[in-house]
Symmetry: C2
Amino acid sequence: MPATLQPKSQILNSLVRAFRRNGYDGASLSRLSDETGLKRASLYHHFPGGKEEMARAVLISANTNFQEAVLGALDQPGTPKQRLVAMAAALSNFYDGGKETCLLALMTTGEGREVLAPQVREGLTGWINTLASVLEQAGQPQASARERAQDAVARVQGALVLSRGLGDTKAFERLVARLPHDLLA
Amino acid sequence: MPATLQPKSQILNSLVRAFRRNGYDGASLSRLSDETGLKRASLYHHFPGGKEEMARAVLISANTNFQEAVLGALDQPGTPKQRLVAMAAALSNFYDGGKETCLLALMTTGEGREVLAPQVREGLTGWINTLASVLEQAGQPQASARERAQDAVARVQGALVLSRGLGDTKAFERLVARLPHDLLA
DNA sequence: GTCTATAATAGGATAGAC
DNA sequence: GTCTATCCTATTATAGAC
């Protein structure tokens, strides 16, 4: 029996989950099929380019989600400190308190890394640039604002690696709590 | 024709390279065979448990290499500052200036993550503990030394992710340069 | 200790019916 | 838009010769 029709956004969310849990190499078409509830051939109808096209679409989708949920907090009214605190909270929520992986980090390894590299870079630089502009608004010189923003993103990525590797999200929680203060110190 | 006999340590080094470049899922037996110069069946002679056993052995080997090359720098005579500077230099060398991946981080994803988790944790905690003990010797209270050591490891991991994702090792180089000072500040 | 040969399974992808 | 059926290749693993 055919699966019930579902909007493409819902298919994409399922694919995001699957890639996030398994990485590029681990996200086999069988798993993508199970996660979406669509047979392999149906996935090829939506994504004629196969797994590679799915991964590209997933990166675009996840990047959009991230911009709305996390970077959007930086566009709200308020002092830089308030906005950074809001971003930290959104960040914690986005990564489920450190239990979820970052798709961008995941996509830097595996078979698809070369083709996906431009989109990974775009996602990371967007994040860094948005963060840097807030720090500039807080009065930091452009060059140091940029470095701090880069370091902040690196600390988030590292905390996620450590939380996963240690099986303990304390490092991530501590980072989220300190990040707003550290960025403005 | 049979490959020339090679010591197990040399086989292991080849396997480390292959897993480091491809991750667990991407390190197929064909690639492991190519990298070692041994046919698949010969690999099963050395590692009857197959890929999983190879990954376990690779983690042990890489962990030993890391302890000797990087953590060993912390056991040399000198002030804490001098020893941390030596570690930072060894770190930069171990990760080829930010161009090489960390096997521990890589093994937190993919098919083998559950079985390899204990060894990944062991590698990370060994690193953290050694670093924390140096910070205690420098006069820091135990609790904050531990947190700082954890954060330092996280920053290294994050810098490696960022360097790979941006295709630019500046973030890693900057971290290595600042790490000794930041840890003692 | 290494090899060739082989088996069984899983992976990516396509054709064509409904 | 989804499906079944099929294809080819790659993957993991084993048996047994040398």
